[in-house]
């Protein structure tokens, strides 16, 4: 029974992967870019799922990690010439990682809503600092920089084309997914899920719950930072808007819409939200976020397991 599910799953996975690989060759540039963005936001949402879906902790501060990944990459690309992809990744991940460590240390002492608010506050602190420290971060205007070439400078450096950029992003997202999936199914991941199910019992059994939570937050923050780096490379700018709370809120929306605890669900959720927003912005040019918000509220009430959960139930009939 499980094998049949696994086969069906991986077949579906491969089909979609194939479609995503072929996409940039057939789609017009606008939609190609749109798709790449879905992947990047999906990665951000997936990183948040580690906390919401597997550890049972809602973070409202993921914009902090995302933004720092973005600014870190920007810093690398501006400070070091020639612009170096790996350095951008390193700087971005380091920035996000340090932030994650800091947030993890304070926020994991608290549960539920206090945790969520603390993560929100920390991301707002980041926002205020970035917004006001104009000399370092460009303040309101942010930073602009050039995209690095794919490859090592000096050895092989091919500038990104829209297609290769898309494939690069796709590769990173897929690898992240596989890696996170592996981690969540490992003993470590099992403990996280046990914390979500019943934290008191997990602690009673003898697990150092707070330590696990800290690692979970760091893992989540790093992958969120990775998404930020990708965004910086694709768009070649970093702006404080991306550190603002709204990004964190949208991340949670992607999670809920797609289905928490599934890793792929959030990517689907991101896609659904962005497509919905795009479609509605054509009919309701100004007020399009209102129906989007209403759809979201309706989903929270009537479809709490998200699109993926709903599809799963429907297929199992």
């Amino acid at each position: 029974m499980r094998n049949r599910h696994a086969v069906a799953y991986w077949t579906g996975f491969s089909v979609i992967l194939l479609l995503l690989i072929v996409a940039p060759l057939v789609l017009p540039e606008f939609w190609r870019r749109f798709l790449t963005e879905i992947l990047i936001w999906g990665l951000l949402a997936m990183s948040s799922d580690v906390l919401i879906g597997y550890t049972g902790m809602v973070s409202f501060g993921h914009s902090g990690f995302f933004g720092l990944g973005m600014y870190g990459a920007g810093a690398a690309l501006l400070l070091v010439a020639p612009p170096n992809l790996f350095l951008a990744l390193a700087f971005g991940l380091a920035a996000a990682g340090v932030n994650a460590l800091f947030v993890a240390y304070f926020a994991t002492r608290l549960r539920d809503i206090y945790f969520a608010i603390t993560t929100l506050i920390f991301s707002q602190i980041m926002y205020v600092v970035i917004f006001t420290w104009t000399s370092l971060t460009g303040g309101e205007n942010g930073l602009t920089f050039r995209a690095p070439p794919l490859g090592l400078p000096g050895v092989l450096a091919a500038p990104f084309t829209p297609q290769t950029l898309h494939w690069f992003v796709l590769a990173v997202v897929v690898l992240s997914y596989l890696l996170l999936r592996r981690i969540m199914q490992s003993p470590f991941g099992m403990v996280l899920q046990s914390i979500r199910e019943n934290e008191a019992r997990t602690r009673a059994i003898g697990y150092p719950v707070q330590r696990y939570k800290i690692v979970a937050v760091m893992l989540s923050g790093l992958f969120a930072g990775l998404a930020g780096v990708l965004y910086a490379i694709q768009n070649r700018f970093a702006a404080p808007d991306f550190v603002f709370f709204l990004v964190s809120g949208e991340t949670v929306i992607f999670n809920v819409m797609g289905g928490i605890g599934t890793l792929v669900g959030p990517i689907v959720g991101a896609g659904f939200f962005l497509i919905l927003r795009e479609a509605l912005s054509r009919s309701f040019t100004e007020a399009y976020l209102i129906p989007v918000g209403i759809v979201f509220i309706a989903m929270v009430i009537f479809m709490p397991q998200g699109l993926l959960g709903f599809a799963r139930k429907w297929l199992n009939r």
Binding site: V58, F106, R109, L110, D112, I113, Y114, A116, I117, T118, L120, I121, Q124, I125, V128, F131, T132, F245, G249, V252, I253, V256, E286, A287, L289, I290, V292, G293, I294, F296, I297, V300, I301, P304
Partner: protein
């Protein structure tokens, strides 16, 4: 030196004034949380809508006091409707869902305001424009008036809870909602009423505060963050604590803005929160930690 003392004096009064408004916002939030375990993410937007409605009613009638009255009533009704439509279906579910639902509501309300009123800030004229002398400095009467009004509204709430017939229902429900139901108290309607009261109070704060800054669709977030901080620092569900915390946090911010810009002064409140969470997580002003 004299100048610094002057500024500190003025900032103290400013801090208390802002603190009273924040107390009005936070009381509603605390009440809602205390009675139904709902963290109302949309509370800031109710504040913002109150401010906008104040602008509209004022523009139509020219009376600030009518603006205050109508904005409060309309938003209270809106709050009741929101609670019935979006929160009642979620009773008994994971608390995460109410946070998400109210977050969704805040998105809808914010964008509604953006759509209806546009992105440019609006102004309400202060109803009292004269100044008085505070010691030897000039200080606007209006600010004192709003502090007094806020205190009055909070005081009325306290009296209602303590002596009003429905106040007893509310207090009983806060303590033991199951037994309250077993005593015939229609708890679902108590929830709706409390949500409406909280919403009304947020709206009133918005109207009172409106003349001090511009009114714009995004003003909610700042206030909800501050209100959250206050609710935590004051002790979740503790009305008296949240009032003290409001004044404390606002004073900290007022003093901080002597030296840094207001945008950065906000960090003062964050620091207070972090320190509270580290050392007195049940609340700074809660008499004995549970």
């Amino acid at each position: 030196m004299q100048d610094l003392l002057d500024i500190i004096l003025i900032q103290t009064v400013n801090g208390v004034v802002t603190g009273m408004i924040l107390a009005l916002v936070a009381s509603g939030l605390t009440l809602i949380f205390g009675i139904m375990d709902v963290v109302n993410f949309a509370h800031g937007e109710l504040f913002m809508l109150g401010a906008y409605l104040g602008v509209v009613v004022f523009a139509t009638t020219g009376s600030f006091w009518l603006a205050l009255l109508f904005a409060t009533l309309i938003v209270a009704l809106l709050g009741a409707a929101l609670q019935i439509v979006t929160l009642r279906p979620l009773i008994g579910r994971d608390p995460l869902t109410t946070i998400l639902a109210t977050f969704g509501v805040s998105l809808v309300l914010q964008n509604y305001a953006l759509w209806q009123f546009g992105p440019v800030a609006r102004n309400i004229r202060e109803p009292i424009t004269s100044h008085f002398t505070l010691f030897y400095l000039e200080y606007p009467w209006y600010r004192i008036a709003i502090a007094a009004l806020s205190a009055g509204i909070i005081g009325s709430l306290w009296l209602f809870l303590k002596y009003g017939r429905y106040g007893i229902w509310i207090r009983a429900t806060i303590q033991d909602r199951v037994m309250a139901q077993a005593m015939g108290i229609p708890v679902p309607w108590v929830y709706t009423a409390v949500f409406a009261i909280g919403a009304g109070m947020a709206a009133a704060s918005g109207v009172l505060f409106g003349p001090l800054v511009g009114v714009n669709h995004a003003m909610g977030l700042d206030w909800i963050l501050k209100a959250f901080i206050v609710v935590v620092v004051g002790g979740m569900g503790n009305l008296g604590g949240s009032i003290l915390a409001s004044i404390f946090v606002s004073l900290m911010e007022a003093y901080a803005s002597i030296w840094v810009s207001p945008a950065q002064a906000v960090i003062a409140s964050f620091v207070v929160l972090i320190l509270t969470l580290l050392f007195r997580p049940t609340g700074l002003f809660v008499p004995t930690p549970k």
